[in-house]
Symmetry: C2
């Protein structure tokens, strides 16, 4: 497998990086919802934890029926079985990254996994 | 385990989310390097794939000795054993997210792993 892969994204509504980059440990998507829009369905996962980071704008998520205000700089972990749905605000769009990983898959990380030269 | 966790980040130089959010499948860090600065060491990983996304500014990475220009919107996968080092430009800072996951840990994802209501 190549030592690295690179892609560049623009203003697409949704970009999925798994296939574009040849990811093997995650799917990463970058998602833009215009003002007043929302993901049109509620979903959960069987095996995968999701990590959401709000990159710009604001909006809300409904998580197991609880409404949570979201703005740039907010990051969330959502457990697999949790029901989730994301929305832009009525007066502003929202751009967020979603990282999908298998729950409990990480072993050592950072200092424990790194080799420093 | 809680159905969700949330944190908010500001202008810290480096924020690590694993412990803050209780992540189980990834470590996620948000890193800001001011103009002229760089990570002061080269590193690789034993088991973990890294995914980098440039959120703002520009700079470069040196990956196995190859210099790669980086700007907002660029995303990279870097294989575990690959040697990497990141730098801001001399005239601009750079902010990037780094996602660390165990290589080959992802099973089904998106449509295959989702439950839609």
């Amino acid at each position: 497998m190549k030592n690295y892969t690179k892609t560049s994204i623009g203003n697409e509504g949704r970009v999925e990086l798994h296939d574009a980059l040849g990811l093997t440990g995650a799917e990463v998507s970058i998602n833009a919802l215009p003002a007043g829009a929302g993901v049109p369905f509620v979903h959960s996962h069987k095996e995968n934890e999701e990590i959401y980071g709000i990159l710009s704008g604001h909006g809300k998520a409904i998580i197991d029926g609880e409404e949570i205000a979201l703005a740039a700089g907010d990051w969330l972990r959502i457990a697999p079985a949790t029901k989730r749905q994301f929305f832009a605000a009525n007066d502003a769009g929202i751009v967020y990254v979603c990282v999908q990983v298998k729950a409990n898959s990480l072993g050592g990380f950072t200092a424990e996994d790194a080799v420093v030269y």
